[in-house]
């Protein structure tokens, strides 16, 4: 058994020559099958990986010097990472558990230490920011997390306090040990929401009884004893967290949207029994209607009290900088910022500045620095942030301020936009880098062929039907000649370029891919990856280099929307542009919207979209094409009415003609109901079959049909006795996987139903007993492979089902679900798999001649290319002459995992969610994209590269041999002639 851990399987090509020297190395090589692993010099040649972190929740810069390069972020994907702020590259990344267990509640940074509370107050962690190592980890008491802050003793930060729903604890920064923990008094009634320390001997906890009063408790740092406790009448206050901040010398400042007033209260002073009110009106401030005012304050150093200046946001683009006077209850407005999207404080040394982002024009925003003390604008601090129409609006601003040599303040800005992108800008307004973090959550993708080059397209256009009709014979000849001349020109230019580039050293040749230079390569290996992300941002990525060629942000996409990407027109129909349609469905209402775009350029198409007033149940792409070669998309609404898109007269006419042969199915997993429908001429539908799986027994978890672009080259399998076993190739077959409602290990089961999608006939019904999900499965050709958890033996198992018609075909010319009365033979075998898996997909090639592999994503991040040969239900228990003839591997209950089968060597893909496969122009080659947190693209050759010369093919040797032979023939011929002549003379 191979260990599941990843072993890098490079086999050094250069070392192969040296292998003779050491017999040991020869032995080592014999363990690997050299041809399957990646050579070291092939690393990164056909593959690339991009790593992402997700939507930033907290971001901090390293110490405030000009030379600092590090940037720390904690994200919604439970990731703590560090970027190089000069390049945007990932320095290190820690991927925690998914789900609430790994949620990062807060990230605090102090010097070299990054403090993090994880999993709703479950763990407190300290990281070394230099190398990203864990300093210590402390398990906290139960209770949901509320707040945390650093606590200083005598001007040095030594402690961190964590406030939970019912307790407060203090931990040493050096080792995480708990100094003390105290239960909060009356925690059932009082909601404790904030903790404050201003460098004194106490730590203050603020709690609120909504719309009644505020509770302030002062704990002694030394032993956690309650020093003071008091409650202040505050009937207007509902939440400390959302409406209060601490400013100045420990003054609590709250804003009340109802009375439009600010309230101040000194936290420490016991003599003030109640809040003092300052009406906003008295400061000449006005809140935008319906807007909840927000206070923004800053505490530059935990050992000192916060600034007495603060921002008050009065509207979506209206901020005011205010200052609290030393007396503690009068406020001076320093500066009014309108319009201003975002504001942020930044401190360097003793100077604190405020950064304000204001809209400049349609295409850019300006960021300026202002002195906090006076509200004056600092000179030469303007930075422009480009606003692109295809990106989201700015969402958050993180400022890194530093002192320049001349003691003036310099800064860099990190802008987070609504589409989760991070942009880093340096003075004077240069975008240093952009990270598209939306790609950390890819939902679905497609690969689209690139268009032909201009000259190729011209040639195509020449043979267009319309052109032929319009022009006469003579113009056609001219056109032909001219296009051939342009082709010749292009070829010469290409040759010249090759020659020119061959002289340059290799490193200097950079093939910058831009949208203009995009064209299909010889073997169609380079494609456009259209990726749809959960945030609603679409990307067009070049599959060869991984560079983002276009992006488009769809605003107003609900966070839980479902996406379906459909390629309606491929690139093959020049001059019609390719067309993709994205169906976005709101999960709550079921209402759907369509976004139609050109997948090569990302531009939105201006096509009339159908109105979809009703929830959409199902969408299906028909092979019917309209006069512009776009495939017809049918959308079925909740009243079983059908909408066609595009819905031209031509399409509707075709639909009417074909109506009786258009069938579709609907599955309602909540009712266990599978039903089939047939289209009527008036585009209404009739229900023709119904299968019901009682939900008391089992629930449908997944349904998969076959991929429409799949080709099967061989109709059958030749057996040992030279007879043919024909495959049951039903294109309408659905694989329905169910799980039992009873989860008891002895009674749990997984059901696999093979149902014909046209007739509703249950072709096969298998029950895997003592099994439960999650079930991953692939349905292709005449087989279904599924993986489940065996509850009895506690292991993962693979099972394969293959369907055969038998040794005779019922109707060899055409397959019809309506005329196939005999049930197929079903063969099944099960194997043990020594690892859990996260996703599974099968390779796909142009003509289906190449043998198939299964691509299995493992939790370790490795992608395993498992030959389908190992998953063959005809693997014999006992080897016979016939089975040997057929090259069947003898049955072994355990499936091996060989390290050289990992196609991504050490480029692990964190949290693999899906694998997409696409055929290339070469039959041997299949393009693979694995996505999850990372994106990895590569090529696989399931039957090796039988149609390609190897990379290191010795052209010099073969041509020199040819030339030598040629000359040898010439010379020997000459010699023979001379000899003959001499003999004749004799």
């Amino acid at each position: 058994m191979h260990p599941p851990s990843l072993v890098v399987t490079f086999t050094k090509k250069s070392s192969v020559k040296m292998a003779k020297l050491t017999s040991l190395f020869v032995i080592l090589l014999s363990f690997f099958r050299i041809s399957e692993a990646v050579f070291e010099d092939q690393v990164g040649k056909f593959d690339w990986r991009q790593q992402y972190v997700g939507k930033t929740l907290f971001a901090h810069f390293e110490a405030n010097t000009q030379s600092s390069k590090k940037l720390f972020v904690a994200t919604d994907k439970n990731i703590f990472a560090s970027f190089n702020s000069r390049t945007g590259d990932l320095l290190w990344r820690h991927v925690d558990k998914t789900g609430p267990e790994g949620t990062i509640d807060i990230l605090l940074l102090h010097g070299q230490d990054a403090l993090m509370v994880v999993g709703d107050g479950r763990l407190l962690r300290s990281w070394d920011t230099n190398i990203g190592g864990l300093n210590w980890e402390a398990v906290l008491d139960t209770g949901s997390f509320q707040a945390a802050c650093f606590v200083a003793i005598q001007d040095t930060v030594k402690l961190v306090s964590v406030l939970k729903k019912a307790a407060i604890s203090l931990h040493y920064l050096s080792n995480g040990h708990q100094k003390w923990v105290e239960n909060l008094p009356d925690s059932d009634a009082v909601q404790y929401q904030a903790v404050y320390s201003g460098g004194e001997e106490e730590v203050y906890v603020l709690g609120v009884v909504p719309n009644s009063h505020l509770t302030i408790i002062a704990y002694s740092l030394e032993d956690g004893e309650i020093i003071k406790q008091r409650s202040v009448e505050a009937s207007w206050l509902s939440s400390v967290e959302s409406s209060c901040v601490v400013i100045g010398q420990g003054v609590l400042m709250c804003v009340d949207p109802a009375t439009l007033a600010l309230y101040t209260l000194p936290i420490q002073a016991e003599e003030t029994p109640e809040f003092s009110q300052i009406l906003l009106q008295s400061l000449d401030l006005e809140v935008s209607p319906g807007f909840q005012p927000v206070l923004v304050s800053s505490q530059p150093h935990p050992a000192r009290s916060p600034l007495s200046e603060f921002f008050l946001q009065l509207g979506p683009d209206h901020h005011v900088l205010l200052q609290l006077n030393a007396d503690g209850y009068t406020i001076v407005p320093l500066r009014d910022f309108q319009p201003a999207f975002l504001v942020s404080f930044a401190t360097t040394g003793k100077k604190t500045v405020a950064a304000v982002m204001t809209p400049k024009n349609e295409t850019a925003c300006a960021i300026n620095l202002f002195s906090v003390d006076s509200g004056r604008r600092l000179l030469d601090t303007t930075v422009f942030f480009p606003l692109e129409p295809n990106d989201g609006k700015p969402h958050a601003l993180y400022v890194h301020a530093f002192l320049k040599k001349d003691d003036s303040v310099g800064y860099r800005v990190l802008v987070q936009t609504q589409d989760h992108a991070l942009t880093f800008i340096q003075q004077p307004g240069r975008v240093v880098w952009t990270r598209e973090e939306a790609l950390a959550d890819v939902v679905t993708m497609e690969m689209v062929d690139l268009p032909l080059t201009g000259t190729q397209a011209e040639l195509e256009g020449e043979f267009g039907k319309k052109a032929a009709i319009q022009d006469g014979l003579f113009p056609m000849v001219l056109k032909r000649l001219s296009s051939q001349v342009t082709l010749l020109q292009a070829w010469l230019a290409h040759l010249w370029k090759l020659f020119y580039e061959a002289r340059k050293p290799r490193s200097q040749v950079k093939n910058e891919v831009t949208i203009e230079t995009l064209s299909r390569d010889e073997f169609n290996l380079q494609k456009m990856m259209v990726m749809v992300t959960a945030s609603g941002k679409l990307f067009g990525i070049d599959s060869k280099s991984g560079s983002i060629l276009w992006k488009h942000y769809l605003e107003n996409v609900q966070p839980n929307a479902a996406f379906k990407l459909i390629v309606q027109r491929t690139t093959a129909h020049f001059p019609h542009p390719p067309q993709c349609t994205l169906l976005v469905k709101d999960k709550d209402t079921g209402l759907a919207t369509l976004h139609v775009f050109n997948p090569i350029f990302g531009r939105k198409s201006h096509i009339a979209l159908p109105a979809l007033p009703r929830p959409i149940l199902q969408s299906l792409l028909l092979p019917v094409i309209d006069q512009d070669y776009a495939k017809v998309l049918l959308l079925v609404d909740d009243q079983y009415k059908v909408t066609a898109f595009p819905s031209t007269k031509n399409v509707l006419q075709q639909l009417q003609e074909m109506a009786s042969s258009i069938f579709f199915y609907l599955i309602r997993s909540d009712q266990g109901n599978l039903s089939g429908f047939r289209l009527r001429k008036d585009l209404s539908t009739e229900r023709i079959w119904e299968v019901v799986l009682p939900t008391e027994v089992q629930k449908i978890v997944a349904v998969k049909g076959k991929r429409p672009n799949e080709h099967v080259h061989s109709q059958g399998r030749v057996m040992g006795d030279r007879s043919v076993l024909y495959k049951y190739l039903n294109p309408n077959l659905l694989a329905v996987v169910t799980e039992s409602t009873d989860t008891h290990p002895e009674r749990a089961f997984v059901g696999v139903f093979l149902v014909d999608g046209v007739t509703g006939r249950i072709i096969h019904e298998a029950v895997q007993r003592k099994a439960r999900g999650p079930v991953h499965f692939v349905h292709s050709e005449n087989w279904v492979v599924y993986e489940y958890w065996n509850t009895k033996s506690r292991r993962n198992e693979f099972s394969v089902l293959e369907l055969f018609e038998g040794t005779e075909l019922y109707n060899s010319t055409v397959f019809s679900s309506l005329d196939r009365p005999h049930l197929p033979q079903v063969l099944q075998q099960t194997y043990i798999f020594p690892s859990p898996i996260t996703t599974m997909e099968a390779t796909l090639t142009e003509k289906g001649i190449t043998s198939r592999h299964l691509l299995v994503g493992l939790p370790s991040g490795a992608i395993l290319s498992l030959p389908k040969m190992f998953l063959d239900p005809r693997r014999p228990e006992v080897v016979t002459e016939h089975s040997r003839e057929e090259n069947l591997i003898p049955y072994a209950p355990e499936m091996p995992i060989r390290t050289e089968w990992f196609i991504n060597y050490n480029q692990t893909v964190a949290r693999v969610k899906g694998i997409y496969t696409a055929p290339s122009g070469l039959e041997s080659t299949c393009l693979v994209v694995a996505y999850g947190l990372d994106i990895y693209q590569t090529r696989v050759y399931p039957s090796k590269q039988f149609d390609v010369l190897k990379d290191d093919y010795d052209y010099v040797l073969i041509s020199s041999v040819l030339f030598a032979l040629f000359f040898a023939t010439m010379i020997s011929k000459r010699l023979a002639q001379v000899k003959l002549l001499n003999r004749a003379w004799r």
């Binding site: 509703g760 065996n790 009365p821 099960t830 194997y831 209950p893």
Partner: protein, 251 residues
């Protein structure tokens, strides 16, 4: 001419083929259906309905009654009447416009809990009416059950299944259904065959292992040792006897 169908109508009920399908590996206990114990399993009847209309609307009519029997051995039989003249004509018309012939059965449970037997809803299946006509009403109806004995699906196919457009001349061919009825429970998917594999490995190991088995030194070289010992013994005895003889000779 007309008397023949009328006579058939009088007979009205033609029992059709009954197919048993053992779903569990347990052997039949051999109890007779008449036993008092088995009254619960004596079966129950559900209607089998069909619908064929020129406008493809669903108007289900009685076709026959399915006799279902649950318990250890699930079995099903069907009693159905002949098609009336009117029905025959409609069926032919439906076949001419390529309409559908649909059947449905109510959702039932084959397990013996009387109260929960009937659930709302039907299971529906269809076949092209023309293929039914062209096959002279020879159809195969299959009922599928799930692990706990609920009927989950029904399917109907005709043999042959194709519509070739051949005209059915003889009215008699369209009178009675020639139905093959089966009930299919789910098959159990195999588990990994570890036991057999280990057994095979053992056998192989044994085969390979035998010649290399460590034999004792004596067992290996007895053919050399025994003659040697014999030789030594013999020579020793000869020495003795020889010595004796010599001694004797000296006397």
């Amino acid at each position: 001419m007309a008397s023949v169908p009328r006579l058939c109508l009088l007979l009205s009920i033609i029992p059709t083929i009954l197919i048993l399908c053992a779903d569990f590996a347990c052997c039949n206990t051999g109890r007779k259906t008449g036993d008092g114990l088995d009254t619960d399993f004596s079966g129950f009847s559900v209607p089998l309905e069909h619908s064929f209309e020129v406008d493809d609307a669903s108007r289900f009519r009685m076709r026959g009654a399915l006799q279902l029997r649950g318990g250890r051995e699930t079995s099903v039989s069907l009693s159905q009447s002949q098609l009336s003249e009117e029905d025959r004509n409609t069926l032919k018309e439906v076949a001419a416009v390529d309409g559908l012939y649909k059947i449905r059965v109510p959702r039932v449970s084959l397990t013996d809990r009387q109260t929960e037997r009937q659930m709302d809803g039907y299971l529906t299946a269809f076949v092209r009416a023309c293929s039914l006509v062209e096959s002279h009403l020879s159809d195969v109806i299959t009922l599928h059950t799930d692990v706990s004995g609920y009927l989950i699906g029904v399917s109907i196919v005709t043999i042959p299944g194709a519509c070739r457009g051949t005209e059915v001349e003889d009215e008699v061919d369209l009178e009675a259904f020639n139905t093959t009825l089966t009930i299919i429970p789910p098959t159990n998917a195999p588990q990994p065959e570890t036991a057999l594999f280990i057994e095979r490995m053992d056998i192989e190991h044994e085969k390979r292992g035998k010649p290399q088995e460590q034999k004792s030194f004596f067992a290996k070289y007895w053919m050399y040792i025994v003659p040697l010992v014999l030789f030594l013994m013999m020579s020793g005895a000869q020495d003795q006897s020889g010595g004796g003889a010599a001694n004797g000779g000296g006397r």
